[in-house]
């Protein structure tokens, strides 16, 4: 008899047999620390990629020694089990070692964004003060190069300020008494993605993180051969969980560079994949366009992406067009189509809720639906690809084990498959509440479900995320997703891709919201043809969506405000627009 399962690929390059050989992490370890301690000492853990000439690698053994040194330093400074330790250090091994050093003590570390030249100092100060105050930390560890002018804005309260010391210099072998870490002790606090001032702390236990990693490593068929590439900041869940804690627990090698170095030289990502034969990466949607567009084509033949088995698009909403662009560009470098995957993730669930390409599927599903019914009835009626007036959606994959989702209407009714509503989730790794913020917790968790604030629908076991609830525009009773308008505006040749924002502005004459678009032109000179471009955009939007735009504001490059995650920040851009055009700000 023919055995059809033998050698069958279950997830991007792994056979079923290989997938089954994965190691169950929760049953094996009590805590994250246990997982780190059980790694082979000589296995590479973190490579910090500085540039072509400078890379530093710490093995698991070396990393443990560095973490232990940091634990001793923290202990000497009065840190005890349960104390919060805030870390404000640049991306790199010392930051990671200090994080684990705090965990070794049974303390609860939290990483905050390190200031950089791209972030307005005033915005940074505001965020820092709010977040540090809420954590009531025992110690705040800052990098030795932390700018003095920002120091006054670290809210210390009773906390002690420590300048980070070089790991590995002193202390080394000092024995740490068993700190009393148990599965139910808090392991760390991570912050939800968002504009800096409004980040919310999510405290997670060792057991919750391990349960999550068990699911994630199983669906992704992760084993010790995997090598993770990352440019993601460690103060967001994607960087912290997928690219630091997962490799630490599953004993993987991770090669990381700083987000700033990557954004300046996006081609370094391709070089690192080539040099280190990386197999996995988690990347926000814009990366899939940014890299091919900002990397000189003449260098493409030098890259080898054949080792990549999962490049996971993990920012909502996932755009098939972005992934296609990346694949078309780099297929000649050996990039496999099945490597392009998607996930829906959030700090509140430790990390991922869904993952594509699992349970025998090849990748994220793309469906086309009737645009009119989508807007008017919030219902997904599938139509053939490319039908006139249709809209397309790319799924974020299937639910991880022990994760559940329901789609809820504005009136609180649980919707059937195919209807669009707010995504609510439950899982065995869901957070218990925002740290020290019962007010926010009460709004977010209701009847055991976490209301994500994201809009989406669930169809044929796949979750599709279509946007943020609060972004929804309601025009004459019709729901309009600003992302749809933005995509149409962005597709105009004169507009910088991804730099368009659609906003709802109340119109007292009509008693409903009007659509206002602000978009950046590719080049300043194009503003001379503003009338013509505006006309074309207007007719494009009407043709595809059947709604008219009230005003279009074309702006020079770099005008739109971006969030910490590099996405166009809708609310801040709105404020900026209203400030420049006060005639738009009508009382509602």
């Amino acid at each position: 008899m023919l055995d059809c399962t033998r050698g069958r690929k279950t997830f991007a390059g792994r056979t079923r047999k290989e997938a089954e050989a994965k190691l169950p992490v929760t049953t094996k370890y009590r805590t994250l620390v246990d997982a780190l301690l059980s790694a082979a000492a000589d296995k590479p853990f973190v490579t910090a990629w500085i540039d072509e000439d400078e890379q530093e690698t710490a093995t698991f053994g070396a990393f443990r020694r560095m973490a232990q040194t940091q634990a001793v330093l923290l202990k000497d400074n009065g840190v005890a089990p349960g104390d919060r330790v805030v870390l404000i250090m640049p991306q790199g091994i010392p930051l990671m070692a200090t994080f684990v050093g705090a965990m070794l003590l049974g303390a609860v570390p939290a990483i905050l964004a390190y200031p950089n030249f791209k972030v307005e100092p005033s915005k940074y100060r505001f965020g820092l003060a709010g977040v540090t105050a809420n954590l009531h930390a025992k110690v705040v560890v800052i990098d030795s190069d932390f700018p003095d002018d920002l120091l006054g804005h670290v809210s210390l309260g009773d906390a002690r300020l420590l300048r980070a010391a070089e790991a590995g210099v002193s202390g080394g072998g000092a024995d740490l008494a068993e700190p009393g870490n148990g599965p139910e002790s808090l392991a760390f606090i991570q912050h939800s993605a968002g504009t800096t001032g409004l980040q919310k702390g999510v405290a997670l236990t060792h057991a919750a993180v391990l349960r999550h990693l068990e699911h994630l490593s199983a669906v992704l068929s992760i084993d010790e051969r995997d090598i993770v590439y990352s440019w993601l900041p460690l103060y967001h869940d994607m960087g912290l969980i997928a690219c630091f804690i997962l490799p630490m627990v599953c004993h993987l090698h991770v090669v990381m560079q700083s987000p700033l170095d990557w954004v300046m030289h996006p081609d370094t990502m391709l070089q690192i994949f080539t040099d280190y034969k990386c197999s996995m990466a988690w990347l926000p949607n814009f990366t899939f366009q940014f890299v091919p567009r900002r990397t000189p084509k003449e260098r493409w033949p030098n890259y080898d992406l054949s080792s990549a088995r999962a490049l996971i698009n993990c920012s909502e909403p996932v755009r098939a067009s972005s992934m296609n662009e990346f694949h078309t560009a780099f297929a000649p470098c050996g990039l496999s189509r099945s490597a392009l995957q998607a996930s829906y993730a959030m700090a509140e669930n430790v990390f991922a809720v869904t993952q594509s390409g699992i349970r025998g599927k090849l990748g994220p599903e793309v469906i086309w639906a009737d645009g009119q019914r989508f807007r008017a009835e919030h219902f997904i009626a599938p139509v053939p690809e490319g039908s006139p007036g249709s809209v397309s959606f790319t799924s974020s994959g299937e639910l991880l084990p022990d994760n559940r989702v329901q789609i809820v209407s504005d009136s609180g009714e649980v919707l059937k498959s195919g209807y669009v509503g707010e995504i609510a989730i439950q899982s065995d790794s869901l957070f218990q509440g925002y740290y020290n913020r019962p007010d926010l917790t009460e709004k977010a968790i209701r009847d055991g479900w976490y209301y994500t604030g994201d809009l989406g629908f669930y169809l044929d076991d796949e979750l599709y995320v279509v946007g943020r609830k609060k972004d929804l525009l309601i025009i004459g009773g019709e729901n309009i997703y600003p992302q749809d308008i933005e995509e149409i505006v962005s597709s105009h040749a004169a507009i910088h891709d991804g730099r368009a924002i659609a906003l709802g502005v109340f119109s007292p004459d009509l008693g409903t919201e009007d659509i206002v678009v602000v978009a950046e032109v590719e080049k300043e000179e194009l503003l001379q043809q503003a009338d013509e471009i505006e006309r074309e955009i207007r007719s494009n939007v009407v043709a595809s969506m059947g709604v008219a735009v009230r005003s279009i504001f074309l702006k020079p490059p770099k005008w739109i405000v971006k969030s910490t995650a590099g996405k166009a920040a809708r609310s801040t851009t709105r404020e900026k627009l209203l400030k420049e055009h006060p005639e738009l700000a009508v009382e509602t």
Partner: protein, 76 residues
Amino acid sequence: MIDQVVKLIRKPGLQIDENTSLVSSGLIDSMALVDLLIKLEDITHLRIPAGKVQPKDMNTVALMFATAQRVGKPRK
């Protein structure tokens, strides 16, 4: 470099010199600093580790060059 800065500032007729304050005066968008830093690398033939640069290091054209000299590494 001054030409580059003028291009990025987009205020016709504005005169700047190497000591004109750009960041603290709000003349230059912090996002444009990425492009300036890339330009600075080209002009100085140095690799500038972006993580070691703060907004105040980019406030004037003179400071930009001083920063490049301070943190930049020769390129191979």
